[in-house]
Symmetry: C2
Subunit: 196 residues, 2 copies
């Protein structure tokens, strides 16, 4: 029962991108095969190349999509100003986020693998992450968001690394304490003002 039309195909493509984003975050990029990715979307492997040029093409597209979704759902939805920032930080460094790999932050799930990706993928990542952190920078310094760009980026690095570390530890008590300490560190960074 294959439906027909440009619209339907675009829908299918969207579904593949979304399920692939989840799968990549859960099993890693190298850990996710094309057959599995297509099965996730309810399709067989053969249809893949009607939608994407290569696996790398999907990787690039899925990463860009993940960052866009994160910018729209997490960052854009938060309250304005410092209250929103604190909300973002506390949500990010929470046990719930720690335990939901597939639905979580693509940076925390994939950052070191992205560093080993093709230039095309890294370029798409760079573009996507800039959009994401601009939403953060706008809350840090509403009058001059550009000046806060690097600081916002460093906040993302801090949070992603802390979450990764918390996920890698087998000592759950320590992992929990690390998240709390990470919140303190992130809030201290926010309150340091522009003079840092």
């Amino acid at each position: 029962m294959v439906r027909y039309g440009k619209e339907h195909k675009a829908e299918t493509r969207r579904r593949i991108i979304e399920t692939a984003g989840r799968r990549f975050k859960q099993d890693g990029i190298d850990g996710s095969g094309v057959s599995t990715l297509m099965k996730d979307a309810g399709l067989t492997n053969g249809a893949f190349y009607a939608h994407f040029e290569s696996k790398d093409d999907l990787v690039t597209t899925a990463i860009a999509d993940q960052l866009k979704a994160q910018a729209e759902s997490v960052v854009a939805q938060a309250a304005p100003g410092r209250a929103g920032l604190e909300q973002i930080v506390r949500g990010y460094l929470s046990p719930q986020h720690r335990d939901s790999l597939g639905d979580g932050c693509p940076n925390a799930a994939l950052l070191d693998e992205i560093g080993r990706c093709t230039d095309m993928t890294r370029q798409a990542y760079t573009d996507g992450v800039l959009v994401l952190i601009d939403g953060i920078a706008a809350r840090m310094a509403p009058e001059a968001p550009n000046s806060a760009r690097v600081k916002a980026l460093s906040l993302l690095g801090l949070m992603a690394g802390t979450l990764q570390l918390s996920r890698a530890l087998t000592d759950t008590q320590l992992a929990h304490e690390l998240l709390d300490q990470g919140i303190n560190n992130a809030l201290a960074l926010l309150d340091a003002g522009q003079h840092i």
Copy 2:
């Protein structure tokens, strides 16, 4: 020309562990095949299982070894007290470290992949990272290193995430600014004292 004896075999094993550590950091765990790992050590694939039970066994051993080496070379070699900490931070968040994946920090290179590893590997990672951060904690609070453990761990998370992010960005100017901002953040964390 195969040499004989327990001593020689232990040497060979050591060589495999060291070259594998490098390779894992460069190409990722999933990205490094057993044949390649053995070729790196100057051997053929067949000899692998005389040294390790499985690939996972080597992964576990290599990660533990990498953390031990880092504790001994980077942390233990630094000057005592706050001066040594600053030295560690500046070395870690330097362009040189950023550009030397194979010789660099295993946390920055592999942290998200380690989070997806078997419990055995994550346990070995946890043990190894605790030794590493104890060296940092001892410099943070010589009189009560245990109290500084979590803070030291959070410093590692901050630095590893920042380095990963700096590696993933295609904008080298921005990547450089991020490293500098990361140094500021790390030093601010050090100077925050025990009251954080």
